[in-house]
């Protein structure tokens, strides 16, 4: 149980088993139970590509203060069976302090697990479950893990009721019986005081990054979505579909990503704030549509939940490797906006902000999230509403000689919606004049390129372009889900070293903000760039757009294994001594 900043304690527990054993269900219940007794926590589901019957693991970390990333190693590994253990081996680091719980009926502990020197304990999960009618070993495991984590039985009962209540009394009773069997066999950890915790937990939320992105979109005013299912973005769509209906909007499942983005553009042309969500392969298919939204000046939000690439890559695992595609993928000179959420809760803010930016600038905005943030479930404090709403500059009444693409000072031109008398124009991917007539003339091309660049580059993005913390001469530049890991790492450093470090987490990737970055880097002598991809995409992007100090260090590594805070601590220490 690692000692973090301010002596915050946490416990990390991995539940593993072959697909269908219900480890993810047990994990969700453990997280909920922990929340009911005042803990924070997060759960990262780790699954293979198999639809059913592959390996799966619930990676949990529970703590007394907010938990935003996984720890360096796991305190407890509880295996219902050892099928495909090698496949999740890298996701579950163990050390000599770890405790491995194994069911002897499923065979010996694999050598690769035993090699870490962890302590072993046997628990006959299957046999215990068999003593209960309709009993299941995952519930025995849940009870055992909960006791180790110091979660009182009452909180567990609340969690089983919530998760299984709709399956009927028998299901709840069977689960509770198994859970108690497991609970009774474990040594107790420090039991939390559930009653004392109840008050503060009543207001906490349980949310995934994908649901958070959906919430941000709804709050921002999105009322139309069109999308094609893709891992790991599908939950955004499934969450949005019924809620859009409730809000007077709709979601259309498209036949492919080419259709999704063009449907969203069509709906937005009609005046409805619109969105599509996808992952790398889908983003590639949408690139032509993004260019159309740039040229025709149509507001649009595209959420891209990154996974391992290129091509089909590693669909169920995270990577931060779509930055280049998002920034540079479009053909022609195509100014657009790219933002990146930097935590599960920030998925709400950044997506809502993206809706606002798209509508205000009449341009497409790509929101980058990733599989880790998108599919992880976290207990968080309530995410307050913000004031960014969809506000489009409309041409409600139109005079003679109206110019849809008027060359305004800020580059933003009033947009008539279909139905507005006299405002008729043809939105076009062809280059055009201010009055929306097709044109291949140099003057028109330059004027419209200037205008479209002006509205994006001249927009006031305020302080949200980056989250900046600290004031030292060593700056760490990062983005996305890696940010939470870096924050924890800096928190673990000795105070005198931590004080020398300034963290800059970029939320606005495009357009670049050279002046703001220059201000942020004033007094900074050295920079380290930390990102989860193979080629250092952020590092190269920074090199192209920003004046950086001479000494720049990079820490880049591809997925699927995410950075651990301890690895970042080591890197920061080494770097600071140089």
């Amino acid at each position: 149980m690692s000692d973090q900043a301010g002596n915050r304690k946490s416990i990390s527990i991995a539940l593993v088993g072959k697909g269908g054993t219900g480890v993810l269900t047990a994990g969700e219940m453990l997280l909920t139970a922990a929340a009911h007794c005042g803990r924070y926590g997060m759960m990262v589901p780790a699954v293979g590509p198999q639809i059913r019957g592959g390996e799966s693991a619930a990676l949990l970390r529970l703590g007394e203060s907010p938990v935003n990333c996984l720890d360096d190693s796991f305190d407890v590994l509880l295996a219902i069976d050892w099928r495909h253990a090698d496949r999740f081996r890298a996701d579950i680091p163990l050390d000599s302090n770890s405790l491995v719980i194994t069911d002897p009926s499923t065979g010996a502990v694999p050598d690769s697990i035993a090699a870490d020197g962890a302590r072993m304990r046997e628990l006959e999960m299957q046999a215990l479950a068999d003593t209960v009618t309709s009993g299941r070993p995952n519930m025995v495991a849940l009870g055992y893990a909960a006791r180790l984590a110091g979660i009182p039985e009452s909180a567990l009962l609340q969690a089983t009721e919530k998760k299984l209540g709709r399956k009927g009394r028998d299901a709840v009773d069977a689960s509770n019986a198994c859970m108690r069997l497991g609970y009774g066999r474990a040594a107790s950890g420090n039991v939390a005081n559930a009653a004392a915790a109840a008050d503060m937990t009543n207001s906490r939320w349980l949310i995934t990054g994908n649901h958070a992105a959906g919430l941000g979109a709804l709050r921002g005013g999105v009322r139309f979505a069109a999308a094609y299912p893709i891992t790991p973005a599908t939950e955004i769509l499934e969450w949005l579909a019924p809620r859009l209906n409730d809000a007077g909007g709709t979601l259309v499942q498209a036949e492919d990503e080419l259709a999704s983005i063009n449907m969203a553009i069509g709906a937005s042309y009609g005046g409805i704030p619109s969105l599509t969500a996808t992952s790398g392969p889908g983003l590639s298919l949408m690139i032509e549509g993004l260019g159309l939204a740039v040229g025709a000046e149509i507001p649009l939000v595209v959420i891209n939940v990154m996974r391992g690439g290129p091509s089909t890559g590693i669909p169920t695992k995270p990577e931060q490797s779509d930055l280049n595609a998002a920034v540079y993928g479009l053909h022609g000179d195509a100014p657009h906006i790219v933002v990146a959420a930097n935590s599960i809760t920030d998925c709400v803010f950044t997506t809502q902000w993206a809706v606002h930016l798209a509508e205000a600038t009449q341009a497409p905005v790509i929101v980058l999230s990733d599989q880790l943030m998108g599919q992880a479930n976290a207990v968080v404090d309530p995410i307050p509403a913000i004031n960014f709403l969809a506000t489009r500059k409309l041409a409600d009444s139109v005079s003679e000689n109206f110019e849809r693409y008027a060359l305004t000072a800020d580059g933003i031109s009033p947009m008539p919606l279909p139905g507005t008398p006299g405002g008729q124009y043809t939105a076009d991917g062809l280059e055009h004049t201010a009055t929306a007539k097709p044109s291949g003339l140099t003057d028109d091309h330059v004027a419209q390129l200037d205008k479209r660049a002006r509205k994006i580059n001249g927009f006031d993005y305020g302080r949200h372009w980056a989250d900046i913390d600290g004031d030292g001469e060593l700056a760490v530049l990062t983005w996305g889900s890696t940010t939470s890991t870096v924050i924890e790492a800096i928190g673990r450093l000795p105070v005198d070293l931590a004080r020398r470090i300034k963290l800059i987490s970029l939320r606005l990737l495009l357009p670049a903000q050279p002046q703001k970055m220059a201000d942020a880097l004033r007094g900074v002598e050295r920079v380290m760039v930390i990102e989860q991809n193979h080629s250092g995409q952020l590092y190269r992007f920074l090199r192209a757009w920003y004046d950086l100090p001479v000494e720049v260090e990079t820490m880049c590594r591809p997925g699927p294994s995410v950075f651990r805070p301890g690895q970042v601590v080591t890197a920061l220490r080494d770097w600071s001594h140089r």
Binding site: T32, G249, A259, M263, G423
Partner: protein
């Protein structure tokens, strides 16, 4: 707007001041006229119509009408029109384009637009050639048609767009000939009025790359039978006719796509509550 006395609209009220890029004699001029006459006959005001297209000679049509329009990217006219009509059911949406745009690069969208049966009309000006790129074979070109890219012909059979539309669930299927503007106007009026997805193939000669199509006016003939509401019967007829049967071939009664739009509720607090533990 509602206080105004409705005045009678003429085809010329839908004309924009943009000069078409089409070659003299192009069949698409007549389609433009027929479409303008049809919406005038229906009394639809220009600002309440949206003409949506992709890329190709015929896809230039939105700019030549004084309606709202969207000239999108190649092959994606149907998704654009779908998004717009679902978001704005109050508008009359007309999707238009050619055989390359609709049957080749955009072929997949045709299947799903028919299947979804959203209430708008799709007009394909079929000239069996890519005109804008100067004469390549399309999915409706005969196998022996000689061209630079496929000397001696493609050797590939053309497909039957109307049969595909029927099999995919289009609710209204018709074939028209641009050289018969009055007949085309009446077909378009019926297509726009019919609920659900209406598909109209208009034989529209390319005088530049397919000069032989000038003969079409001698080959076309009115469909000898009345429209059926039996899709399989319609498909059989289209499979076996000479390709020059003109008229409404199928009128179905399938329920158009209903978007599940509810009343807007005060969702913000409700939605927050669902995340509460």
């Amino acid at each position: 707007m509602s206080a105004e006395v409705p005045c009678k609209l003429k085809a010329s009220d839908y004309k924009s001041d943009t000069k078409p890029v089409w070659c003299p004699g192009c069949g698409d001029f007549h389609v433009l006229l027929s479409l303008s006459k049809a919406v005038a006959q229906l009394g639809l005001r220009p600002e309440n119509i949206a003409v949506i297209s992709g890329i190709g000679c015929s896809s230039r049509i939105p700019a030549y009408m004084n309606c709202y329009g969207f000239h999108g990217v190649h092959g994606r006219a149907l998704p654009l029109a779908t998004g717009l009509k679902v978001a704005r059911p109050d508008l009359t949406v007309i999707c238009a384009g050619g055989d390359g745009d609709g049957f080749s690069i955009g072929g997949n969208h045709l299947l799903h637009a028919c299947r979804r049966n959203i209430n708008f009309t799709y007009v394909v000006m079929d000239n069996e050639v890519y005109g804008m790129t100067k004469g390549q074979p399309s999915p409706t070109t005969a196998p022996d048609w000689d061209s630079k890219i496929a000397p001696g012909g493609t050797g590939i059979s053309p497909f039957y767009p109307l049969v595909i539309a029927l099999a995919s669930g289009a609710n209204f299927v018709a074939r028209a000939f641009s050289g018969d503007p009055n007949g085309t106007t009446q077909i378009l009026v019926e297509a726009i009025k019919h609920p659900g997805f209406s598909f109209v193939q208009i034989l529209s000669p390319c005088v530049t790359f397919r000069p032989g199509q000038k003969e079409w006016k001698k080959q076309v003939h009115p469909s000898p039978v009345t429209p059926t509401s039996d899709a399989s019967q319609a498909a059989r007829r289209v499979m076996t006719d000479d390709g020059f049967n003109i008229g409404i071939l199928y009128k179905g009664s399938r329920e158009p796509y209903q978007q599940c739009v509810g009343q807007e509720i005060g969702f913000d607090c409700d939605i927050d509550e669902e995340f509460l533990l």
